[in-house]
């Protein structure tokens, strides 16, 4: 990171200044907060970027990135003590990246029904460990609530966000291929990461057999060529350890260094925001109260504009904690909607199969993305399904079976023949898992339990979430359709699977401070600005009125850039 950021970092970490005023404060440095900091700094605002965890500097703080399997004491296996102490985080983390996930014991929450709240409390947040799949939403998604009556209408349409998708993609660097699919719009792409032999064959078979389905190259924030001084990807597929080559997009590798390069950024790690301060006189937010993670001292920072990017559940809880005379139920919560309509994509089910052909082919290098089957249910009259509304997409990949899967699949066998099985490429296999849309539902809610406090005196977060009938019916269809498509693709020994993930496991939390046209039923307007408190903007997952079935981070980034542009324009016109 740049010298500027280093200097500012030290200044802010110093305790001398109890109160500091900035042009802008950004709460949270994950994928959307990093973008807010970059945009606001580049537009000339002196910006304070807060994160509740430690600093993670690009390259320097990726301790496992260059380690071989034998360099790990536990050889990529997970320690029993780690599993039992971290039942939630260990469902998605492992020995190579666990330093980028919180400790469940230190950060408890109340799950009224099983819900995995996966968190990365450090600068860069979960942008370090995200799945990097990047797909645009379309009007099929933006119009869905209006058309079928679930949730409330989006206050914007594809044409409003399209230029901002272009804008963020041009900076992020997305590998992908244009396909001309209306409901999965093309973007600004770097060269695609090619399909392997079995995937190409599968893609061809599906195209011939189905009128409504395509198998396309995965679109991902991995650099298939060098981009803006980052990358290119070295095909290690070890992204979630942090990439010393900058081969994928994270706040740490991209937006925070860009923000720091302007000289306008101050970064304060270890800063837990307990509330946004509301000024009854001006009717605006005055700043934030920060509890230092390490010393537990309290600080106050003031700014003209505040961006909340703490991540969906955390942003909702900050709003609910921010009570005042005007807002006894939480900042900007005159609608009563803050905390409601929590969504997560449902996934972890599908099918896999083996292929008997192509035994004389293989691949070299580890591609960090796969293939994708865009949504094909309920696109138009011909593709309608009576059983459920909305739809799902598949992520898939083909590979030749290698030692770990051979070990797990074969229950016995030892000696020379077993060794041969482990050390030669096994049959081609295909894994297909679905990612499904989750309907907004007010019963899925984030609330606070004031009788229980965490280590920093904050009320405990309470999550009440379950998937509904629509999600279950969609899941069944996705499992059956995956098996059918594999059969069309010529696969044998097809097995369906359903990991029965609880909510949260896809780590796509959305909702809880939705955008909308009507202040009575929504929290944010079409520029992610609070209806009630004009100088507060929320551009993380909490703003989503619906979730589509696409991986959502790209949309948060586009909405953030758009909201920053709007915020700075109105600020300069003295309308904020």
């Amino acid at each position: 990171m740049g010298q500027n950021q280093q200097t500012k970092l030290i200044n802010v970490i110093g305790k001398a200044e109890v109160e500091i005023t900035y042009d802008a404060i950004v709460v949270g440095s994950g994928i959307s907060g990093g973008w807010a900091a970059k945009e606001l700094c580049e537009k000339g605002l002196r910006t304070l970027l807060l994160d509740r965890g430690r600093n993670v500097e690009h390259i320097k703080d990726y301790p496992t990135a260059m380690m071989n399997p034998w360099d790990f004491n536990n050889r990529l296996e997970t320690e029993a003590a780690y599993r039992s102490e971290n039942p939630v985080q260990s469902s998605v983390s492992n020995d190579t990246n666990k330093h980028f996930f919180v400790n469940d014991k230190e950060h408890p929450y109340i799950a009224q029904k099983p819900f995995n709240w996966v968190r990365g409390y450090q600068v860069g947040g979960r942008s370090l460990t995200w799945g990097r799949q990047t797909y645009r939403l379309s009007d099929l998604d933006f119009e869905a609530n209006l058309k079928d009556g679930h949730g409330t209408d989006w206050p914007l349409r594809y044409k409003d966000i399209a230029p901002w998708y272009d804008y963020v993609e041009s900076y992020v660097g997305i590998t992908g291929q244009a396909e001309g699919i209306p409901h999965l719009p093309d973007g600004v792409f770097l060269p695609p990461m090619e399909m392997n032999c079995i995937e190409k064959n599968f893609s061809g078979k599906i195209k011939t057999h189905y009128k409504d389905r395509l198998v396309i190259n995965g679109r991902a924030a991995n650099l298939s060529k060098g981009w803006l001084g980052r990358g290119p990807c070295q095909y290690r597929n070890l992204c979630d350890r942090g990439c010393p080559f900058g081969g994928y997009f994270s706040s740490n590798s991209a937006t925070i260094p860009s923000a720091a390069a302007t000289g306008n950024l101050s970064l304060r790690p270890h800063s837990i925001v307990s509330q946004v301060i509301y000024d009854e006189q001006t009717g605006k937010a005055k700043g934030v109260i920060v509890v230092d993670e390490l010393t537990k001292e309290t600080f106050e920072y003031h700014a003209k504009v505040i961006f909340l990017n703490a991540s969906t559940v955390a942003t909702a809880s900050i709003l609910l904690q921010s009570v005042s005379k005007t807002f006894p139920n939480g900042l900007g919560n005159s609608s009563g909607q803050v905390g409601l309509n929590l969504m997560d994509h449902h996934s972890g089910a599908g099918a896999s199969g083996e292929h008997e052909q192509f035994k004389d082919t293989y691949y070299s290098g580890r591609r960090p993305t796969g293939i994708y089957v865009p949504r094909f249910r309920n696109i138009n009259g011909q593709t309608g399904k009576q059983e459920f509304v909305r739809g799902y997409a598949y992520q898939a990949h083909g590979e030749r079976r290698e030692w770990k899967d051979t070990l797990m699949i074969t229950g016995d066998g030892f000696g020379e023949s077993y060794k041969n099985l482990l050390t030669t490429p096994g049959p081609w296999t295909m894994w297909m898992g679905y990612w499904g849309e989750c309907l907004p539902n007010a019963a899925n809610a984030v609330t606070l339990d004031h009788t229980q406090k965490d280590n920093w005196g904050m009320p405990m977060v309470k999550i009440d979430f379950s998937f509904g009938k629509n999600e279950q019916l969609m899941r069944q269809d996705a499992i059956e359709s995956a098996a059918e498509m594999l059969s069309v693709g010529g696969f044998k020994n097809i097995k369906t699977f359903d990991y029965n993930f609880p909510g949260g496991t896809t780590v796509h939390e959305m909702g809880t401070a939705r955008m909308g046209l009507d202040p009575k039923t929504s929290v944010l307007n079409k520029f992610n600005q609070m209806h009630d408190v004009k100088n507060v903007f929320i551009t993380d997952g909490s703003c989503m009125p619906s979730g589509g079935c696409q991986n959502p981070s790209l949309t948060y980034m586009a909405l953030t850039a758009r909201a920053c542009d709007y915020a700075v324009t109105v600020l300069k016109n003295n309308n904020l």
């Binding site: 034998w70 004491n73 392997n196 293989y362 070299s364 229950g411 000696g415 020379e416």
Partner: protein
């Protein structure tokens, strides 16, 4: 349904079975694992691992010191039930070798060692489907399953195993989506 499965089903249904589980078996599972015994039997574990993955034209389990990794992983990553199952299994191996051949396992010929491991594979073979899952949940994994699992992990993640028996590259640098399989092409060590 074979004999073992039939007995296990009766065990699952029967109250008598439940009583006997809660007494002796519970103790066998819950007691503090005897790690001293585990550490002291490194040579035995090395020989057992070599039976699972022998040296051929490429290195075997002993060449990569799999025994040390196996002991460490069983201590760090296994739950107590399976730790005890593995340690009890080692004791059973010692007894069985003595009974069958009148010699310690480590003094047996490779063929004799194979006979013994094959016996324990048969003993430990799990049932397919639900009853197998219940058995693993209740009784833990068999000695053979644990031995085979950690030998394979220790071998395939070792420097020698990954580089010389499999194919490994920390930094491939490029991706080639389709290549022709060359004769003797080894499988990749990592995904």
């Amino acid at each position: 349904m074979n004999r073992r499965k039939a007995i296990f089903s009766i065990f699952l249904l029967g109250g008598a079975g439940a009583v006997s589980y809660s007494a002796l078996t519970w103790y066998q599972h819950a007691k503090t694992p005897d790690f001293t015994f585990l550490n002291n039997n490194e040579a035995l574990i090395a020989d057992l691992a070599e039976v699972i993955i022998p040296a051929t034209s490429t290195p075997g389990a002993k060449d990569v010191m799999a025994q040390k990794t196996i002991i460490s992983l069983i201590k760090q990553c296994e739950d107590r039930k399976n730790q005890n199952n593995f340690i009890n299994g080692l004791r059973d191996i010692i007894k069985y070798a003595d009974k069958k051949f009148g010699k310690p396992f480590t003094s047996l010929s490779p063929a004799e060692q194979k006979t013994i491991v094959a016996h324990f594979q048969e003993e430990g073979r799990n049932f397919s489907g639900t009853s197998g899952k219940i058995k693993n949940k209740l009784l833990g994994k068999s000695f053979f399953e644990i031995l085979r699992y950690y030998t394979t992990v220790a071998f395939c993640t070792s420097q020698g195993g990954a580089n010389n028996a499999l194919a490994y590259s920390l930094i491939p640098g490029k991706y080639i989506s389709c290549i022709n399989l060359s004769p003797g092409q080894r499988a990749w060590a990592t995904k």
